[in-house]
Symmetry: C2
Subunit: 418 residues, 2 copies
């Protein structure tokens, strides 16, 4: 069968799965998720054996140690995957929730009800645990998934999908609730992106190049996560000890993440007190600091920052520092350079806190908290399928609710259009 027909067939299977899932009760979905978790544990050996094939292939290909580590399945990781499925089972079901309801003058009652989106196509890279995570979140929200993982993990992914599908079938759901396109060819992705009317949403997870390629070629709506160039602004009215802790946490706690701080903006009124202490603490933690001219005057030992640095997502122990002339200047810098991901202000001034919250146009805006908290678990969504930097449907962490849409429902008693 050619690639086009193969992908089309898989997608139609996913559509059948979506129909079954849309009607499934919460109880049924939860029970299947728990059985899936048990099956992953029970069949761990099988998964590890298949995973070994991927690892061998990666080693032969000379892939980096870091990549091979991300690819590797261990008993511990399989256990975490299973635990993840159980946690999703324990979350409240968003489907069927009436978001609001109101009366019209003609006596009809109009409401908005949460409904599944349908078939969600997920295109992702190496880590095989994404297979179970993404499938379980979509399933709980009543959506089937059409998965397309990276070629490096193809054996592992195929094995995980087999386990999950076996359970779906055995428990009386449809196998099509989880379908997997096991063709490493890039053309398979391109065919997937043309399945308008069958696939309802595409979520690409991976590097910027993958996401750009998907966005440019998709006829299906895409929810995506571009880079995070995040800021913390230390206002003149900040509690400087708190500011120090927040900035340190935002940069150092896990620098390789999208919600880590890349640029620290410091109010000029407190720069002379704040900067030397802060820079010392960063330097002790191995952070390379690049500063504007003003900050270099205060702490001459730091490097010089270039304008293009302010656009960079370092994902590393590197930090830009800029001294700004108050909140206006800080918000202008953020509006220009931020990737609209996570931005924070540290201040004790009420008016400035409220202004920053309202005016900064990012997926999450923080007062007196670390940007590292922009995360589905931290926000209490239970789990997340990514952090959207899009401007429609959902911005920020996408949990179960964000994997649904709403439809209008009308309770009438004979209302007509006049």
């Amino acid at each position: 069968m050619d690639i086009k027909s193969f992908v089309h067939k898989k997608a139609l299977e996913a559509k059948e799965g979506a129909k079954v899932l849309a009607k499934a009760s919460s109880k049924q979905k939860n029970s299947v998720l728990i059985s899936m978790a048990d099956a992953l544990l029970k069949r761990a050996k099988e998964l590890i054996a298949e995973n070994k094939k991927d690892i061998k292939f990666a080693q032969d290909k000379g892939l980096s140690k870091a990549l091979i580590d991300r690819l590797t399945l261990t008993d511990k990781r399989i256990n975490e995957m299973a635990q993840g499925l159980k946690e999703v089972a324990a979350l409240p079901d968003p489907v069927g929730e009436i978001v609001k309801m109101w009366q019209r003058p003609n006596g009809m009652t109009v409401g908005k009800m949460r409904v599944p989106i349908g078939v969600i196509g997920i295109i992702y890279e190496s880590r095989p645990n994404v297979t179970a995570d993404a499938a379980s979140l979509c399933m709980k929200a009543g959506n089937s998934v059409l998965l397309r993982g990276g070629s490096e993990a193809i054996n592992s992914n195929r094995a995980i999908v087999k386990v999950l599908r076996d359970v779906a079938k055995k428990e009386g759901l449809h196998e099509g609730v989880i379908t997997f396109i096991d063709i490493p060819d890039r053309d398979a992705v391109m065919e997937m992106l043309k399945l308008e009317g069958i696939v309802d949403l595409i979520i690409p997870r991976g590097g910027e190049a993958l996401i750009r390629a998907v966005t440019e070629n998709s006829r299906i709506p895409v929810l995506k996560h571009y880079k995070g160039v995040c800021h913390v602004f230390v206002d003149r009215d900040a509690d400087l000890k708190m500011a120090e802790e927040i900035c340190f946490n935002a940069k150092v706690q896990r620098p390789g993440t999208c919600n880590a701080m890349e640029t620290m903006l410091v109010d000029k009124k407190i720069a002379k007190i704040f900067l030397p202490v802060m820079v010392k603490r960063f330097k002790d933690a191995g952070v390379l600091i690049k500063g504007c001219n003003l900050s270099k005057k205060i702490v001459p030992s730091i490097e010089k920052v270039e304008d293009e640095d302010f656009y960079k997502e370092y994902l590393d122990l590197i930090l830009n520092v800029k001294i700004v002339d108050g909140i206006e200047d800080a918000m202008e810098h953020i509006a220009r350079y931020s990737s609209a991901h996570s931005d924070a202000i540290v201040t004790n001034d009420y008016a400035k806190a409220m202004r920053f919250l309202k005016e900064v146009d990012s997926s999450a805006v923080f007062v007196n908290a670390s940007t590292r908290l922009n995360d589905g678990f931290q926000f209490g969504l239970g789990a997340e399928i990514g952090i959207s930097t899009d401007k429609i449907h959902a911005r920020g962490p996408m949990g179960l609710e964000e994997l649904t849409c709403t439809k209008f429902i009308v309770f009438g008693n004979g209302q007509l259009r006049e």
Copy 2:
């Protein structure tokens, strides 16, 4: 200037406009909308003079009378446009609304706040009133618009936009809140669809061909409105008099609209009583009826329906009739043929009503009310920019709320990521 640079320049102007609008207060937005309404009335002669150019061109080109009628601006229509702006001014401002808010165990408060989307590109066809309608709705929701109207109305649209921009400038907003691409060339649309990162959302309004072309070529998210193939299912437990009124209204009140009924599904248990009466009433109103074999047995005078007819959006006094074996059969038919726009059940059976509401996957699902009520005004949204048949962001009528998104806001007191 070449088309690409021209469109890019206009879009950047819109982006500047969006920044100003995002910060504007409700009071300021409302005052500008009211001044815009007044200016349209005051400068009606200017608008009508420009409109005459379009009409003359359309007549020379031999366009249809119906099209020329839709194109024509009269004092009455300008008055309606102005009235529309005032109504939008009177609606509640969605921007800044806190949709929900909750506490986390670490003491931080997380909320979701409604924010504008940014720059909305609207691609539409002949009717010039869309220019003012769409611009006012977007503006009220804090978004700037990049408009691209049909070439037939170019002089009228340019004149309307000029009036609105003059007011925006005079009242201290930015002219860029409303920008207009007055290049009739199709290439201008194609350039618009590439402005990812500047334009945040595209809404195409017009025929299916336009919408398909936009969807296939856009790198920007698109919210669209495909055809309406709507159903009314008359259940065996329906109040048959109510069913008759609802079916008649759904088909006849305005057959050329997307929410008019195209197929009537009748439970076989009541078909012999219901069909003859209903068909007579439809025939008296000039409706051509195409029925399945079973319905032809009951009313032999009707035409025979073909399977492909069930996919058709007639937009005319033509109706398919099918006799079904209960709600299961009806919902199966709807799942197969419906365009997921508006579908209704008429029944007095509680369980069937609730099942239909839950399981039918359409933008609006009705119990005991006409599908013709799927409309922003009828639902109380105040106004609408179209009816989305998409599965993400918004389904059904899109009012002000649907022209916004939400961001996360966090009130902390020093929270860090552990």
